[in-house]
Symmetry: C2
Subunit: 206 residues, 2 copies
DNA sequence: TCCTGTGAACAACTTCACAGCG
DNA sequence: CGCTGTGAAGTTGTTCACAGGA
């Protein structure tokens, strides 16, 4: 099997969103052309993306929606629940605690902060610990993913603590200054960057 | 000038973050090699990215940090303030109202929701209007960018209202169902998708 | 027949390697 | 000499076009 482009994985998540939507209409079969038009891409790209992982379709017919959903979830590794720990219960952090990530298979098991008035409380049923507890709790509860929503200047040390706790991957809202010690996947959500790209696109023509 | 890859624009925003950081050290000159190592990419890619927009450097020396910052801001169109309207004052929305986007040149001027208890209030100094006012307020205040943080099922109509108000670009946290009528740039921030990609990367090897 | 899966052609992006200027 | 800017080569990703199975 050839190396798989990262954009293919991103599109897979998009296919999943479309499938979830199409399922509601009661359809059972989906063709590459229909899925493609939902995503505004070419049908051959849909088939290419899927073919990296096997032959899921039926020639002359299309793809079974249920099967396809199952396959994509398996590929993305979300066929089983992922346990998540969240560091930083500020603006973004507390919004995430209320965000329905559970329906996508991501369960936030524990939150962390340094503010005394938060520690020991439960927010939306999720207990808040002191940040110094990150390594212990991550290890004890077997958390898979860490979300970092703390200020820029402490993001690096929080990441190191998660790694000490055996985290397998990190999603960060703050740029992690120095590349962290152990090699685990790290992804970023940067709201300012998205707005800047949008700004560029606006100025480009209009 | 050749067509500019979207990844180049994304990297430009990253260069800006690095420059902001490096500036604090008091440095005045920056070489492509140093910027590249900050971003974990090759130096020739940095030079290629910048060369799409002109010749900003001095051969044998490097780039003036101040000049480079100014140029990149100009390219991204953030050399002047962008006015932003935010629809949806829920979890994510209210977090964004407190988020320091101002320091990146994005000023949230107005917020919108449908909950009676919010309308007429000010949050962090930003007035909240009813969502039916979107077209009027966007037009009157000359808002450039709309951020959509409402539930999926009403995201489409909110987008249409913004377009009626003359918005130039949209950043959405909810997938917009049908592609909106007028052709303006739309970008997405999908937290679930990022977690899914992370999940894939985790399972891939470890 | 119709739609998938896939070599082969094509397009986009990155790196190489070096000319050229300060 | 040292670093930028850039053709040309190399690599990666997308589309074409069609063989092949239901």
């Amino acid at each position: 099997m050839r190396r798989i482009p990262e954009v293919t994985i991103r599109r897979l998540t998009h296919y999943l969103r479309c499938i979830e939507f199409i399922k509601e209409t009661g359809a059972k079969i989906l063709q590459s052309k229909e899925l493609a038009s939902f995503c505004s891409i070419s049908d051959s790209l849909v088939r290419r993306d899927l073919s990296y992982f096997g032959e899921f379709g039926t020639k002359g017919v299309g793809y079974s929606i249920d099967e396809l959903e199952k396959h994509i979830k398996k590929i993305l590794g979300i066929d089983r629940i992922k346990k998540v720990g969240l560091a930083g219960v500020g603006n973004i952090g507390s919004a995430l605690l209320k965000f329905p990530l559970k329906k996508n298979g991501f369960h936030i098991i524990a939150a962390f902060d340094i503010k005394k008035e938060l520690i020991g409380k439960k927010i939306n049923g999720i207990p808040v610990y002191h940040e110094k507890e990150i390594p212990r709790i991550f290890k004890e509860k077997g958390l898979d993913i860490g979300i970092i929503a703390v200020p820029q200047n402490v993001a690096g040390e929080v990441a190191e603590k998660m790694i000490k706790g055996g985290v397998k991957g990190i999603l960060s809202f703050a740029l992690l200054q120095c590349p962290v010690s152990k090699k685990i996947p790290i992804r970023y959500i940067e709201i300012a960057a998205e707005l800047e790209i949008l700004s560029y696109e606006i100025e480009k023509e209009g």
